[in-house]
């Protein structure tokens, strides 16, 4: 329970902390002692040296995700433009072969602003809630959100520019998103308008795909420019309230990435590629509370850490199914 609360606190902006001995299990402590033996340290260094020659991370998960994002968004477009009627609407709300679906954050903004909830919205919101609880909330971000794909491309460009010294990553405080979340919720209640929707890049992009390009796309371009030149993954990391809504929903999801300290060499490759590296703090040497543990609530299940880990210490896992498989 305290681990879950910690995971929430870190998602809301607290810096992850090294666990106290009281928080660590005996098995974790024993493993830590074992790993500190001089012979083990030497072995680990040797291993890391060798692995560089034969391990090259692939792109499997990234390709799968990109296909998923493109396919889902394409289905919206084709449903309208070619009348195949699979998912009608936009990512804010839609009908999937006739069943109501509503984006949890957009639905929340409407409920707070309008203060009345019709049954169709209840149906749509519950359906989506169950779906994303199952998959793990923030998997919406990396498996469906069209802005995430643009953000990833922007990040690649940013890293290229940064390597040449043409751009620098300015980190922000992650609590910014929590503050904005409260601000937008309060604004919806007080003004009675869905204030956040005005700048919601997910809604803007999804509508632009289906109903045609709009001026609003310029705002999305501004966000992207900030990400490329000023702050790596600015919107998804520090700003987007949608990500936080889904993060909360998926905190106790059956699908998650599982960390196995026994296999870990503590190289930190996973934290380098991760959009939300604070969820991987337990991969630092001596930071794990247990030998095996789930990674934090802010995780988008993008699979980048799974891909890049040379020893398989990070793996996708489904609760209950793990034993069966």
């Amino acid at each position: 329970m305290s681990r879950l609360l910690d995971s929430f606190a870190v998602m809301f902006g607290r810096e992850p902390a090294k666990p106290t001995p009281a928080q660590q299990t005996d098995a974790a402590k024993a493993l830590f002692q074992f790993k500190r033996e001089p012979e083990q340290v030497k072995k680990r260094k040797q291993f890391i040296k060798e692995e560089k020659t034969h391990f090259k991370p692939g792109n499997r998960w990234r390709i799968r995700r990109w296909i998923s994002i493109v396919l889902v968004n394409l289905l919206f477009v084709l449903s309208y433009q070619f009348d195949i009627q699979v998912v009608e609407g936009a990512l804010t709300a839609s009908r999937f072969v006739g069943f109501h679906m509503a984006d949890l954050n957009s639905a929340l903004q409407v409920m707070l602003a309008y203060k009345e909830v019709v049954i169709n919205l209840v149906i749509g919101t519950s359906t989506v809630l169950i779906v994303w609880w199952l998959f793990g909330g923030r998997s919406f971000c990396s498996w469906v959100c069209p802005y995430h794909l643009l953000g990833e491309l922007g990040e690649m460009l940013h890293l290229k520019l940064a390597a040449r010294g043409w751009a620098k990553d300015h980190q922000l405080h992650r609590g910014t998103r929590t503050v904005l979340y409260v601000v937008f919720a309060a604004l919806a209640v007080v003004t009675g308008y869905t204030v956040f929707e005005t700048i919601n890049p997910v809604g803007i992009l999804s509508r632009a795909f289906t109903y045609g390009i709009s001026l609003a796309v310029l705002w999305v371009a501004v966000l992207l420019a900030v990400e490329v030149f000023y702050s790596r993954r600015f919107w998804c990391r520090y700003m987007c309230p949608i990500g936080m809504t889904y993060g909360v929903v998926g905190a106790v999801s059956p699908v998650h990435v599982r960390y196995n300290a026994e296999a870990c060499l503590h190289e930190g490759e996973c934290r380098r590629v991760c959009m939300v590296p604070h969820v991987l703090s337990m991969t630092k040497f001596g930071w794990n509370e247990d030998v095996k543990q789930e990674i934090g609530a802010d995780c988008t299940r993008c699979g980048m850490c799974v891909e890049v880990c040379p020893t398989g210490a990070l793996k996708f896992d489904i609760k209950g199914l793990g034993k069966l498989l």
């Binding site: 309008y114 003004t191 005005t198």
Partner: protein
């Protein structure tokens, strides 16, 4: 000493990070709040689809998904852009380009709406109150001059469509494909989908006086068909959005 310097350096970078976060966070919230400006500047409301609730509530209740756009058989409904601020992604009807002529019969847009921004209260076209027609340019009206009309109502390049029951009960066709030849122009009355909402009344007691003037009655639902079909440029008839919402009593 070096520990203190390091600590101070750390603190300085922390302060910078805090300032950056506060600044950019405020910028994002400010950009969103900027959506209020177009609302304040807008003199009149958009003509909303059938069933739309009171404009203020409409902006709050609409989830900006465009499902109403997708079901409209004449594609009368379009979505507002970011220049309408909080109204971004909300549906409206530009009647002069394409009016709602109730080709769908059963108010499909209302059925499509997931949030109740389009109220389910109206169950047939006659119960809708989306706007009210008004004679805006009486001097240009052909009927008021006793003139007829021959040809395509809106010219050959006009892309709008209309369901002509006498041509095809189920399929709307381009207005440009349906030329008229009328001894006295009565297009607004002829194509009005709501019986008795608009009539042409004599302008004098002289039975030889051909002139007629359009009169709008309370049963007008504001669908915009008269504004769309009016052959003069600009249109004699315009629709004023009914700000009080469109649900009937």
């Amino acid at each position: 000493m070096s520990a203190i310097a390091q600590f101070l350096g750390e603190e300085k970078s922390d302060r910078r990070e805090f300032l950056r976060s506060a600044l950019l966070g405020t910028a994002v919230a400010g950009a969103a709040l900027g959506g209020f400006l177009p609302l304040a500047a807008l003199a009149e409301s958009r003509l909303r689809p059938p069933g739309a609730i009171v404009e203020r509530d409409f902006l709050a209740a609409c989830i900006k998904c465009g499902q109403c756009v997708q079901v409209c058989p004449v594609e009368a409904i379009v979505l507002a852009d970011i220049d309408e601020g909080f109204g971004i992604g909300t549906p409206y009807i530009a009647a002069r380009e394409q009016a709602c002529d109730f080709s769908c019969d059963a108010l499909q847009c209302i059925l499509a709406c997931p949030t109740g921004a389009l109220s389910h209260k109206p169950s047939k076209p006659e119960e809708v109150r989306m706007g009210l027609a008004r004679v805006d340019k009486p001097d240009a009206c052909l009927a008021r001059q006793g003139l007829g009309f021959k040809g395509q109502a809106r010219g050959e390049d006009y892309e709008g469509v209309h369901r002509y029951a006498e041509v095809d009960r189920w399929k709307p066709i381009p207005v440009a494909d349906h030329p008229y030849d009328l001894p006295l122009c009565d297009l607004c009355v002829r194509e009005c989908p709501v019986k008795g909402a608009i009539t042409l009344e004599p302008m004098s007691s002289d039975p030889n006086d051909k002139r007629r003037t359009p009169v709008i009655h309370p049963s007008c639902v504001g669908c915009g068909m008269c504004e769309m079909i009016c052959p003069t440029e600009p249109a004699v008839l315009v629709i004023d959005a009914r700000l009080g919402g469109s649900a009937p009593k």
